[in-house]
């Protein structure tokens, strides 16, 4: 079967599985993202906060503390060592959570900027915008390094002054100021300048969670990869498409049918969009063949060259 034209994207899955099933993970993600935001915003109105604070640090049901581990690292880099216990416990809890379910689950299920960048990508496809600046996806690791170096050099959380993630989340809950301009910047950058520009190449938080998710338990599998008819729809919707070939086309190289790269955000779009149900969620150890995570990222880049 030939590559699906862009205006036909998702038609097959909808026809075979029904609209709802063909969007179930997308809907679930939006529901989770908005619910988290909503619970934070509800507190001051309802008088009792299920979630209090914002993504940087929060309190769940007035008891369980959570703190973003990257902020925790910035505190240490900035030379603040007298950190109170709730931030220590909170950072450990968040870290442990993403260690298990996949670091970049933060990106696709929690981060509010994801809605912005997904919208930009959707619009880019709709409008047929082609502009593609080549940025290495590894730039994000440089950015991550920069965030920590800046904290070390300036002794403060300098990146937090402009971090679009906290800016958007905090802005919606506590008031924006001109913070929306930064978000608009991310949106326009993704729309006109680089495809998946921010989340896929630059965001240091993404990079951090990427590293956290190196050994995550929950992974996407491609158990029915022999059914793949090369429609390329999953490549079109996947925000980190370099992770796909190893699992999908790795049979000839004896690679297991599992996406081991921690670039994968566990968003489940590939599961949704595939008309022949190649993909499903599973655990890391479910892969029958031996895991070889070293091999799986570079291929796509090579194929493209």
């Amino acid at each position: 079967m030939p590559v699906t034209p862009l205006n036909q994207l998702g038609r097959e899955a909808i026809a075979k599985k029904g609209w709802f099933t063909a969007h179930k993970f997308l809907l679930a993600r939006r529901a989770v993202q908005l619910a988290i935001l909503g619970l934070f915003m509800l507190g001051p109105i309802a008088g009792f906060a299920i979630l209090k604070g914002n993504l940087s640090s929060s309190l769940f049901l007035e008891t369980i503390p959570m703190t973003d581990p990257l902020l925790f690292l910035q505190m240490l880099a900035g030379g603040f060592f007298g950190i109170a216990s709730s931030a220590i416990i909170g950072a450990a809890l968040v870290f442990g959570f993403y260690l298990l379910i996949g670091g970049r689950v933060f990106c696709s299920w929690v981060c509010p900027v994801n809605i912005v960048s997904d919208t930009a990508h959707w619009l880019r496809r709709r409008l047929g915008i082609k502009g593609k600046t080549k940025i290495s996806p590894n730039t994000r690791y440089w950015m991550l390094g920069l965030v920590l170096v800046l904290a070390f050099v300036t002794g403060t959380m300098t990146y937090e002054l402009v971090n679009p993630v906290s800016m958007l989340h905090r802005g919606l809950i506590f008031g924006f100021g001109f913070g929306w301009a930064v978000i608009l910047g991310v949106f326009l950058f993704d729309l006109f300048i680089a495809e998946h520009g921010w989340c896929g190449h630059l965001c240091p938080m993404g990079a951090f969670y990427n590293l956290v998710g190196k050994t995550a338990l929950v992974r996407v599998h491609a158990p029915r990869r022999d059914l793949c008819d090369d429609c390329m729809e999953c490549y079109e919707v996947c925000p980190e498409k370099q992770v796909l070939p190893a699992a999908l086309k790795g049979a000839k190289d004896n690679k297991p049918p599992i996406i081991l790269s921690s670039d994968c955000t566990n968003c489940g779009r590939c599961v949704d969009i595939c008309g022949v149900n190649v993909f499903e969620f599973g655990l890391r150890f479910d892969a029958k063949m031996e895991a070889c995570s070293k091999l799986d990222t570079g291929d796509y880049v090579k194929n493209q060259a």
Binding site: W142, M143, M157, F176, G177, G179
Partner: protein
């Protein structure tokens, strides 16, 4: 694809060039961000940090900008700085004394709410907080200095008589009244800003400033002679000579409040018997402080 050595070299060269490009780009971004950060982390004088906040540079390393302190303030005076609107570092909590001063809650709920300790958890007595320092900053327009009765700031101060005192000075204009001058003492002022909020003027004459702006500092080498007196056993400076009034024998003038003291058998100024009967003390402060529990 046959991998010739030439191809490898080319790949390597491309890799190095790409890496250099990325590094330069990120480096430039970092430089710009660092410079912006330097400009953006200077706290404006009107933004006062919540009680227990660490020194500003430490605070900026410790505060995650989560707003848990904001949420737990029952008076809702705290706000997270908005990008471009408030000049405090983006996302950090502050309050504005003139519009919403800290009410100095006895249990200080904002402090334990802070998960990181950016608000120091060892602060348990709100009177020990040092959010800023009130300064009677415009002595030209403050109506107290004009000889008018106001004392609003004095009356609203939670630590009145310690943090804010009234000092009388002779009113030179009328020649026979006192000025009730508000005077802040940095030993006790918490910087809550209730006085600034209450000031009746169009623009407050008493303002809470960050302590480093409000206070001067004596050169480290400087010693005040009279403070050294105890250590040295005697005064290092010649004491001021007492000013002498040309008064009749037996009459003295006390500079520090008592005024004219007549020790003669038949005093020149004789208080009439009706003065003794008045329920008001001759000190107007006693009237003001009536019913106000002595703060110690």
């Amino acid at each position: 694809m046959p991998s010739s050595t030439g191809h490898k070299k080319l790949n390597r060269r491309k890799f190095l060039a790409d890496t250099a490009k990325t590094a330069c780009g990120v480096g430039l971004f970092g430089l710009a961000l660092g410079m912006y950060g330097k400009a953006a982390s200077s706290l404006p004088a009107t933004a006062i940090r919540p009680p227990g906040a660490l020194a500003e540079d430490k605070f900026l390393a410790a505060c995650t900008r989560c707003g848990l302190c904001v949420r737990d303030c029952p008076y809702q005076i705290l706000k997270l700085a908005e990008f471009g609107n408030d000049n405090a570092a983006t996302g950090t909590p502050f309050f504005t004394a003139r519009t919403g001063p800290c009410e100095m809650c006895e249990d200080i709920p904002c402090v334990p709410a802070c998960p990181t300790g950016a608000l120091n958890h060892s602060l348990i007595d709100i009177n020990k907080a040092r959010m800023g320092l009130a300064v009677v900053i415009d002595q030209e327009t403050c109506i107290a200095f004009q000889g008018l009765r106001c004392e609003i700031c004095y009356n609203v101060c939670p630590l009145r008589k310690e943090a804010l005192k009234l000092e009388y000075r002779p009113n030179k204009r009328s020649g026979h009244h006192a000025l009730f001058i508000p005077v802040v003492s940095s030993d006790a002022c918490t910087g809550c800003g209730l006085c600034e909020k209450a000031c009746i003027m169009e623009e407050a004459a008493v303002k809470v400033l960050p302590v480093h702006l409000a206070k001067g500092e004596l050169g480290k080498h400087y010693r005040l002679g009279w403070n050294q007196k105890g250590k040295q056993g005697k005064s290092l400076v010649t004491p001021d000579t007492e000013h002498r009034f040309n008064l009749p024998e037996g009459v003295e003038y006390d500079y520090y409040g008592k005024g004219l003291i007549d020790k003669r058998q038949t005093p020149l100024t004789q208080p009439g018997p009706q003065v003794e009967k008045t329920p008001f003390s001759s000190n107007p402060l006693d009237t003001l402080n009536k019913g106000f529990k002595e703060v110690k």
